[in-house]
Symmetry: C2
Subunit: 328 residues, 2 copies
Amino acid sequence: MAAVVFRHFHHCVPLLLPAPHSLPSLSPLCSIPLPSSRPRTRAFSVSSSSSHASSPMDHSQKFMEFPFVSAPHRDLMVDLVSMIETRLDSQLGPDTLPPDVKYYHNQSGTAQGTLHSRSGLSSSKVDFILGSWLHCNLPTGGALNITSISAYLKASTDAPNFLIELIRSSPTSLVLILDLPPRKDLILHSEYLKTFYEDTRLDSLRQTLFKLPEVQLYFSPQLFIRCVISPTAIVIKIDTDAAGAGRIEEIIKDHISSAAKEALRIWLDQCACGERTVGEEERTYLEKRDELIKKRTIEIDLEKSLPRLFGPDVANRVIGVLREIYAV
Amino acid sequence: MAAVVFRHFHHCVPLLLPAPHSLPSLSPLCSIPLPSSRPRTRAFSVSSSSSHASSPMDHSQKFMEFPFVSAPHRDLMVDLVSMIETRLDSQLGPDTLPPDVKYYHNQSGTAQGTLHSRSGLSSSKVDFILGSWLHCNLPTGGALNITSISAYLKASTDAPNFLIELIRSSPTSLVLILDLPPRKDLILHSEYLKTFYEDTRLDSLRQTLFKLPEVQLYFSPQLFIRCVISPTAIVIKIDTDAAGAGRIEEIIKDHISSAAKEALRIWLDQCACGERTVGEEERTYLEKRDELIKKRTIEIDLEKSLPRLFGPDVANRVIGVLREIYAV
């Protein structure tokens, strides 16, 4: 997540939300019907006190609950996290985030989020894994739900990172970003393009999704974000106004799930666990390029959107921790 | 053109054409009705003799005739060439291409093409301008028509190049590529992204075209081509099966024409005639990156498609001249 989760807030938030001071104190939360296949344990009961976020409650598992999204959506996210953690478990340290960053919310309780992070051990090529969900009540009566997972590699490999993000601003709409963002200029490095994007046949996943009549391309309003993604990136918008919310859940279950798992499998095999040789000069180049992307991601997304949703104190706390993880 | 013109041949040709040895000798040519606003002077009369291409006939103006496309399509191309040549005339040398490259055709006369090129004088930032049209009869009875203009700058500036290409494989379909392809990695050079793509508001042209219900995104099957374009590139496919050919011509006249002229105006003002400082190290980087793009373009497009359409002799002649222009 995190930085990733908010990439599109600048787009969604101004349209959907009034300024924070005028946010209505809506409750109960959870506006999307949950045809739940998993029990909603620890169902959310928010306190309007800001002390809630730093209470001694155990929020260590809250990220994996994905309590506000549909069963197919939650199942997909849980499966992807499990795939990563099963395969890379021995390479990853524990999630040591402070409780009030693992789970945070705004004063009125209309917005809440989680952050999950595990760093790669010194022997691993994985720099860190980030996961997140975010839920925000909308003045219109609906809710915005964003879930994401991202995985960043160290400069000891030049292999691509991994990213998935699902953004729901209504039960009949979905924006999906699924990509292995490259870490090099693909014009200068044609072998890299061939190895990670042509030979892996990643584009076939995009082609398959584009056969669905509901699928449209989504253009991020931020040109920088369009530059970060690969030529096989799946960046799509699905609207099923006519067929309703059921169709979106069907698409997640029958199409997006398999595409996301296949992309992740390719990333785990070829990138996180693949062998690549990186010279000293190239390592410096990768460090610089990686850092620029992380910095711009925080500037473009988090610093504009988080304060609006959560107020400056919570936003500063979460962004501060993310800057530490990102080392920027 | 040229290299540019053929970018999508690998996609179109296998679908539309049998292998050259089985090409039917179709005639007459010109399958698209021409609601002509300009007289079709020097109407095409092809000789099946291969000596035709090297005959003493004057082909110097053939490029500007665009004899096989509709009036709105031809008017657009002529206007764009005129805009470039009017603005840059004092910076450009004459078109010195040999006659049998200025105009060329296959033995059976079912495929013909033109090439127009002017190099920038030593004082100019323009490296060269290329224009082209290509016409090819299809075994199905229709015709493939491709017209393009591209403009490349020298390494004394890092400003983007210019590119427009219109591909018609039937009277009711059009693929348009309109872009200022960047010459640097936009992740590493955020000032470049801001100057040429954000501040110029190039994306508003794309947004306007995407408001038309007939407009869809076009994905080049070649990932490399997707990497070459900018984040504001207009790469679209328009199908008007229901409304027929008239609607495509209306879209070219009312929408594509203004977008293309505005993009070209931005390129002329900000890129071809803008002031940029380029250091020695950066110059070496630009030369390398420019060269890689030109080389790959020839490999991917021309070397695969031209021999199929024109036979090896004509293809080698045209590609040889393009290699000289491209200096690769």
